[in-house]
């Protein structure tokens, strides 16, 4: 187990493995997205209250889930990198930020496009909406902090602190609809007991959740390759790689 882990964490091995795995995750994610789009836009019936506007859920909810999930992955790997001085963990954190920021932006834009017809407003300073906006600023701050430092090791350590501190925002976003009187509806999927959504609506949504998660793994693997190359710039294997 430990030797397997050491081998996985060895940069040249990880670089090769990520290159092999990324296209697989990518193509499976792509196929699932097409299936989820068909199920969500064509097969699922219109909602009895919201009509066809409810279909925005098929991109909004998975994006929102990814915006939180990626932040947790980013902060935890930054913490692992900070505590055990693991370069690969820092690489995973750095590679996650742009993907997470994109999903946060997608969440806010699709939320506005859903809010306008349903609540009559594109934006409100509501707990759920505001905490999600803060998440976008955390991602942007993390990336800006990294970009402002030439020394990669210093950038890794400083940005790790920011990522870990920002983690407090994640439960706030998640429970905002429960703790405060929010405009935003509560979750229909992750309820204790039965989800309050019919099967033909739920299945495409679960497919999209899975597709977006696999998509993240695919893009993450590609981005980590770039981060590993930057951190291993003096290593012999990189020298061999670029002259091969």
């Amino acid at each position: 187990m430990w030797t397997w882990f050491n081998k996985l964490a060895s940069p040249p091995h990880f670089y090769r493995l990520a290159g092999t795995l990324a296209p697989w995750f990518g193509w499976i994610a792509g196929a699932l997205i097409i299936a989820g789009l068909y199920g969500g836009l064509v097969l699922a019936p219109a909602d009895y209250q919201q009509g066809d506007a409810f279909r925005i859920i098929y991109v909004h909810a998975p994006s929102a889930w990814m915006s939180l999930f990626i932040y947790v992955v980013m902060a935890l790997s930054a913490a692992i990198g900070f505590i055990w001085r693991m370069k690969l963990a820092h690489a995973v954190a750095a590679a996650s930020a742009p993907i997470g920021a994109s999903f946060t932006l997608a969440t806010l834009v699709t939320g506005a496009l859903w809010g306008q017809p349903m609540w009559g407003t594109w934006w409100a300073w509501d707990p759920r909406l505001t905490s999600e906006l803060i998440l976008l600023f955390l991602y942007i701050g993390y990336m800006a902090l990294r970009a402002s430092m030439d020394d990669l090791q210093r950038a890794d350590r400083a940005s790790a602190v920011l990522a870990i501190v920002g983690l407090v925002n994640v439960p706030i976003i998640h429970y905002s609809v429960v703790w405060w009187n929010s405009l935003h509806q509560v979750s229909s999927v992750t309820r204790l007991g039965k989800p309050t959504i019919s099967t033909s609506m739920l299945v495409p949504l679960l497919v999209m959740f899975l597709a977006f998660t696999l998509y993240y793994v695919a893009v993450l693997l590609v981005r980590v390759r770039a981060e590993v190359l930057r951190r291993e710039r003096n290593a012999g294997w990189v020298r061999e790689l670029v002259h091969a």
Binding site: D52, V59, T110, L113, R223, R225, L229, V242
Partner: protein, 67 residues
Amino acid sequence: MSEFLSMGGYGVFVWPSFVVTLALMLINVFAARSAVRRALLEARQRFARERSPGAGDPPWQREGAAQ
């Protein structure tokens, strides 16, 4: 078909939601791939410079170039 596109009158909200999300995802794929290409190019240029200082730099930055 036009009924499908109108989305019960909500088409102007539904379609942009899908387009924005999928476009952002597509952009991320290309950005990630170009990050790898850029990192490989930088490594190649660095090693080339080590072997023969100035090689790989644009002409105006090479040693001996007119300042």
